[in-house]
Point group: C4
Chain length 383, copies 4
């Protein structure tokens, strides 16, 4: 990977102290403007890191919220407007996280302009949905201001509770809605394709849950471009509702699908990308630069696979690349994770990047990819 | 504008005293007949004011109510019968209007044969819908005798509460129905097109709310003929429900769309016109003939734009034209506003003209475009 | 009309006394067999009265109930099985009939095997539906054993409560269901075509109420063959549900539509005929043979039109024809009305004949067109 | 029928005692493995008994539950996963069976991995559904882990309660759901075709009940291949939902339909087979080898037809064939009924075989066709 830097704007770091003072008053315009200027710089740098294909200039009409600086894009070519940063709940609510921390994370996200919260029927065996739903209820956020998405998985115990049969799609989604205490989700995703179920049955069932008011849209997760294309074509054949979005892994070390395959789908059939793991399971946080520290995720027994990946030769090559990026981030006044998240967003085919932060500090830092100026003070106090 | 008058019927003004006496008894036939004769005259005059295009003789089978003299037409080529005068609630319920005045206005309209009441999710931030719904409930009018229409706007706070995404169409309409305390509206309008949302999504969502029983029909508002045509063609492509009506501004000084574009749409795809602002925001009332009086709407701060329009050169030209019309109205025994409203109705492609009157006096006067003989006595006493 | 009689079976009249004795015990087989033999004879005679067109041998698989002798046919080519005699409620429940008599009539019909009860939103201003519904509830008859049909009329007060707009079809049917205290009717009829509403809107609305579970099938009433064909073709064009049945007047003096037009529709698109007025408003009862008696319907003020028809030259010719038929009926051991009803049934394109009898005696007599052996004793006592 | 045996695996019978000891502890792996090995052997033998047609290698991705050894297949090409042995309730709940025995049977089946329970509106006049539903409720089994199927029959008293009219399909299924205390069944079967109802009406009604959420899929029962093909083609013509499964009789003496006709349907349109009567009404149990014993089903009055079949020449030929099979079963360490059931399962086009066992002992024995090692101890104790 060739790294070239075009530092077209002044280094913003020196203004940090000043900004912090300002931002304590309110999220006033100059502060947000500074953040935007910085974001633009980060984006320019990130873009310079190269892409596989010539960059398509996709015009998702992006808008920016005045108060928070958050940016919004359409989910694919659908009319649904999502914040370009969303909160995933796999890592976030997946462990032994307390309800208090979960609420704190969601509040930080919401008040930073995040409107997209993603979960799945299997995260923490359904507990992630329960927590998400109860916090939404407790906080009294208007349902219409939120984009709640869930995924149908393969995690059921019984044979019938797996795969993408009509039965599982309907029953699985009903279960999710109950746990979420919601009447409907905004997008229901079919996680992993199911070669054992005819595509017609899947698309018919997805159309059914939308017609029944249990979901507004449907999408795919971890499907190949060909499988998505088949879903679209079956929807067209039988006058049913096509998917609007694919959830895909996307970060510096996993680029091919989002940068090569999905743009074509976006252009041809309007399917957008909602990406996850922008920090490659924490690898891009930089904390594994000198092996695996004791308190890190990769040191846990159940993350043995992650440790192995990190200490492999491939893993060490990745750490070297990250070392090249660190000074760039520093010069831009942002952190390496912020640079990595901003880098994902530079791909205009990406509708939203899901953050998997599990602590308030991490989340605030990650959100800073957009609002760079001391987001912590801004968000947790100001309001 | 060339003004020519063909006064083919006797001047009705002299009979006013007699009529008033008669009408105090009941809305008996001779009185109504006189009103009809007069209406015909007004219509003939109005027609003589000229049109851009040769007049199509559109045969909306018009009927007249015996008791009130109100006329009814089909909304476009749909089967829905609307009174040719409707009550808008933007101006009417938009200001600091009291619930008592609102009820008085609706009662006057209803008892004059008006069956069409139009509102929108944003009028008075939703309060217009609340008032409209509570009055209907209080008065106990049969739901099936009323045509209630609302519009989905761009007024939501959150990104997701604007535009014409499936999410906003469904959630927005649900919100309106709650405020209206109704199970369904008769027509739901999509206000302004949304180039950011695919037409397929819009038409699919509109068809969905109709199939769910939340609306009987759907229409557009402020869409271009080309956009309406696209909606129609998408509806045909996917076997969905096409729109039946466009809401458009129409008055003496804004004629092109309703007179040139919409008739073609009506003939080709049956879309009718429901027009608003027949008095051009009060300009045609004649009260701005000598500048902007202190107590008028245009003198209010938030109507600065209106004041500017009135005092502009274009505005003064308009006032001059109105001065030419005044004697015509006088000779016909009607007021200038009545002539202006009757002029809108002469266009048979117009299904209904929405009145925006904000006082009982104005409303009674405007309704007089149809029932010319002392409508005040008739309507507010008699019953 | 040429009358020829082929008396292929022995005269059954002489066996009346014996039959009455037998039938008091139970509706045992020989008795029913006798009734069937007689019915066959009547049918043969009736057929000999001639038709406009060569008789199509339509094979509506007719079945006969063992206990009652009632025959059942499919409604058109649909799967719905209706008794070939039904009870109409226009005359029946239309006057000052008491609830007790109404219940008696329905009980007689039900216990004679009638499963078809027809009403309309306007009969007795809605009261016919109320009575019908409350009797069904009171008697506790299984809903699934009954075929309840209603008709949408033009009788509403308001402009919107007439015609076949989507609004009126949905609201009108909802009103009927409320009055009937039913979740759904089996067939909803659109009474009279509405040239003011596009056929697409009508068929779409009918399909909607069926999909919503408010009706099982839909039909037309007093539509021309061309109008029914248009409804069918629109249903095919948009993949909607076609009508299954036309309600039409049919008796000795009104034959053209049912005998010439409807058979073609039946063969091409499966639309069946449910006919009414088998006795031509009582003319065929024979009671007007010597003018209009004082106590008869035609002597009532509001039936002036009927009186005029009877005493006209055309009316007298009809009476003369009836005089020719009387001896035939006598020889067959049945009454003139029974012969007239049986004559309607001989047309195999007719799915069911609606009886409009307003007294228990008349109803029992009319039902005797099928079960000829002393039905009165059989039905009102035995059970 | 030529019988040839390829005993490719060691005889498992000698290990029975050991197995029994092991299985008392838990259903541990070696035990299940032994069962699988044995099942494979049985299958190989069974296959050697010959088929009418060259065996298609249909790849219903079969999976095996670890704990129970039960195998699961897709129902036809649909995504629904059913256990390859199901419990029918015609014989099972049809007689004077007590609720306790019924519960015991269902518990045994469920704990052996059976997820498929089949019933019908007419079994025991509806009582089979009532028992099935109340046991499910009492046991608290997750609805999503069960596949409940019912059949619409011809058993209604009234004319309208028979056949496959839209009315009967909707009302019949509603009745079943009430008796079952369920919101929906997984598959609703149309038992016997109805030549009196148009196929369009049948498929439209089936699609309707699925769209209304009353069923997940629909199937046919005792239909010919041509009739199923017509249903499929009508579904395609009108964009409706095609059937997924045919219920058919299938055993050693009734092979033609399942082995010749259905495989073609499976390959062309994905319709699978759910078969019943694997023991030919008990004939294959071997108990009729020496005539009809006094306590057997065939000795009952109402099973006269069965007795006649058994003692006929054809019947005696069948008994002779069974005598040839007995030693094969013995050598394999399984019973004749187990061999017969396994033989049905060897046909990969068969999705599931419904067992009709009416005593716990019989059921446990039959289930042993899959889990051969002392299932009684395993299932009724262990848990």
């Amino acid at each position: 990977m060739q790294v070239s830097i075009a530092c077209t704007e002044h280094n913003l770091k020196s203004r940090n102290g000043e900004d912090r003072l300002l931002s304590k008053q309110s999220s006033n315009a100059p502060n947000v403007n500074a953040a935007r200027a910085k974001f633009r710089t980060v984006a320019i740098i990130a873009r310079s890191l190269g892409t596989f294909t010539p960059q398509h200039h996709i015009s998702l009409k992006e808008s920016t919220a005045k108060q928070t600086g958050m940016k919004y894009r359409n989910l694919g070519k659908s009319g649904l407007r999502v914040s370009c940063l969303g909160l995933g709940t796999w890592v976030t609510f997946g462990g032994q996280i307390s309800d208090e921390v979960a609420e704190r994370l969601m509040t930080i996200a919401y008040e930073s302009g995040v409107n997209l919260f993603d979960t799945a029927e299997v995260y923490a065996a359904g507990k992630a949905e329960v927590i998400l739903g109860s916090i939404i209820k407790k906080k009294g956020w208007r349902r219409s201001s939120l984009v709640i998405t869930t995924k149908l998985y393969w995690g059921g115990k019984a044979e019938t509770e797996r795969g993408l049969s009509r039965k599982h799609i309907i029953e699985g989604l009903k279960g999710s809605l109950q746990r979420l205490q919601l009447e409907y989700v905004d997008v229901v995703f079919a996680n992993r394709p199911d070669s054992n179920t005819p595509m017609e049955e899947i698309v018919r069932a997805m159309t059914h849950v939308i017609n029944q008011g249990m979901a507004m849209y449907w999408g795919t997760s971890r499907w190949s471009a060909m499988e998505i294309m088949e879903a679209y074509s079956v929807a067209r054949q039988f006058n049913m509702i096509p998917p609007v979005c694919e959830q895909a892994e996307y970060h510096l070390f996993q680029r091919e699908k989002v940068e090569v395959q999905l743009p074509e789908l976006y252009h041809k059939i309007g399917v957008g990308a909602m990406t996850w793991s922008p920090l490659a399971c924490g690898i891009i946080s930089g904390k594994y630069g000198n092996g695996v520290p004791e308190s890190s995720r990769a040191s846990l027994k159940c993350y043995q696979w992650l440790k192995e990946r990190i200490v492999s030769e491939e893993g060490r090559k990745q750490q070297n690349k990250l070392k090249d990026l660190s000074p760039i981030a520093e010069r831009l006044g942002c952190t390496l994770p912020q640079l990595a998240v901003a880098w994902c967003l530079r791909n205009e085919g990406v509708s939203s990047v899901l953050l998997g932060s599990s602590t308030p500090e991490q989340l605030i830092e990650n959100l800073g990819a957009i609002q760079a100026s001391s987001p912590k003070d801004d968000i947790t106090c100001g309001k």
